[in-house]
Symmetry: D2
Subunit: 165 residues, 4 copies
Amino acid sequence: MGGNASTSSTLEAAHRFGRLAAEAGWVVLTGGRPAGVMEAASVGAKSVPGSLTVGILPSGPDGPVGAAVDIAVFTGVGEARNVINVLSSDVVVACGVEGAGTASEVALALKLARPIVLLAPSPEAAAFFRSIETRASLHEVETPEAAIELIEHRLGIARWSISKT
Amino acid sequence: MGGNASTSSTLEAAHRFGRLAAEAGWVVLTGGRPAGVMEAASVGAKSVPGSLTVGILPSGPDGPVGAAVDIAVFTGVGEARNVINVLSSDVVVACGVEGAGTASEVALALKLARPIVLLAPSPEAAAFFRSIETRASLHEVETPEAAIELIEHRLGIARWSISKT
Amino acid sequence: MGGNASTSSTLEAAHRFGRLAAEAGWVVLTGGRPAGVMEAASVGAKSVPGSLTVGILPSGPDGPVGAAVDIAVFTGVGEARNVINVLSSDVVVACGVEGAGTASEVALALKLARPIVLLAPSPEAAAFFRSIETRASLHEVETPEAAIELIEHRLGIARWSISKT
Amino acid sequence: MGGNASTSSTLEAAHRFGRLAAEAGWVVLTGGRPAGVMEAASVGAKSVPGSLTVGILPSGPDGPVGAAVDIAVFTGVGEARNVINVLSSDVVVACGVEGAGTASEVALALKLARPIVLLAPSPEAAAFFRSIETRASLHEVETPEAAIELIEHRLGIARWSISKT
């Protein structure tokens, strides 16, 4: 998860995380639009042969979709689709938390008790989310590599295998 | 799309349609629950190597999911997910229209102007949906084979290829 | 509930039903847009002093709202708001069932087991909805007066009182 | 907006704000459940004759509703209803921002560019939301009285009048 209009270092981190997640064998799910962190993570994932990307879009099928999205889910429910992103993810990785949409997704992940990883958050974001009472598991890392390590070894998220199909 | 509690001939048609659609190279999207037409169509599709199935679930991740669903999208929005099913499908195939949920999906497909195929509808369902004013393309067929033929040659729906990933 | 583009006799029935429902002391909930049955029922209700009307809109606050809607609920979820209409109504009254949106609301009301009254349905609509297996209570009437009588005496729906506030 | 499990000073502020908002002639909209800030604000509002309260519930009609809610809107969409709360409010007032649900509503209000007032936020919440880039108007106040003053004189939100009905 991440903003439409992120800094170049956030976009680079999103691209690298997408690639590493796909190499590790996970499906990469994003908000699906051709912008910002969503686009960067999907493109990173699709640079890996055999990868699979899912996009949960706010629009119906007339809206824009990133070219690196394999499976486009058109919700037509606008920002309410942020809840679907969170519920459908085994772990939510927030790249940057620079925008309000990402902040809502982190807050929803905390509310819905989904595991969440803040990747290179601002000091304000880290301080705020740590201050909220919650049952969820909240983690902070500084690099995509550390995020992958955490997800695999500490959270133990199962890999999806294309051979399953 | 189809009911939770369908007749055995409807379930057989759903299974066969799922298999034929997967063989033709389409992704099979259902409501994702381990019941009725959803389950039958997904199981049919997964009998084909290289197939891909998507389930759009009414529940969050605590709810039941069919074992033949590859990509589970947990919406948490209950019956409102029927709109997402319709918007995310290139063509909606309704097996039987025996229940109210399926009827709502056919009606929503008509409302949202998505192409729709009624597979072996009851005379009452066929007569009613034909009577509704709409911009959508509504079709009736009697067999899964005829549905595939229609979708491929008359509707010209593009195939999804696993090699894309 | 009813279509955007209904016949004049359906609109007259909607207006009359809205007025009678408000006179009987019920809150009138519609889809809220300035069109068709929604508009007619709200305007009918607001011709009664002390009435209260609610509109459940598909759009956000930038979208159009009927002038006779007191409480506008902006959902931003498009056609998925039909589920909210149904869940929030003590009884669903469908005026005409001439369009696909109304058909989806009737189907959802059947699915969600809400009491439903079809007011002057077409023969095809009446035959179809009667043919669907369901736990819901489905009724047919020919006039707004008969709908009020049914709701009050047979369904026993509680009246809302402005004095409550 | 506010948490289910708030401190007593937050609940007192919510109750007082609800009363003052109703006295000023505004409709008070909350999440509708019989808990926390939602309940306190609705009860405060209903202590004023002629007031009107709306509750936007996550559940269907089988779920719990606060006794001080006049108009219950049953969405059935779970946490996705937070978007509806925000879109339907002329101004969002967050009491405390102590929980993740409220944080998601503040973030969504920022995303959707709705005016928002943080009433007695924690230092972490204030610092974080100020740090997010946004088009929305974000305000902080320390008392319910200051919130009312701001909404009336600086934001110029129109009052709803029961005489309208």
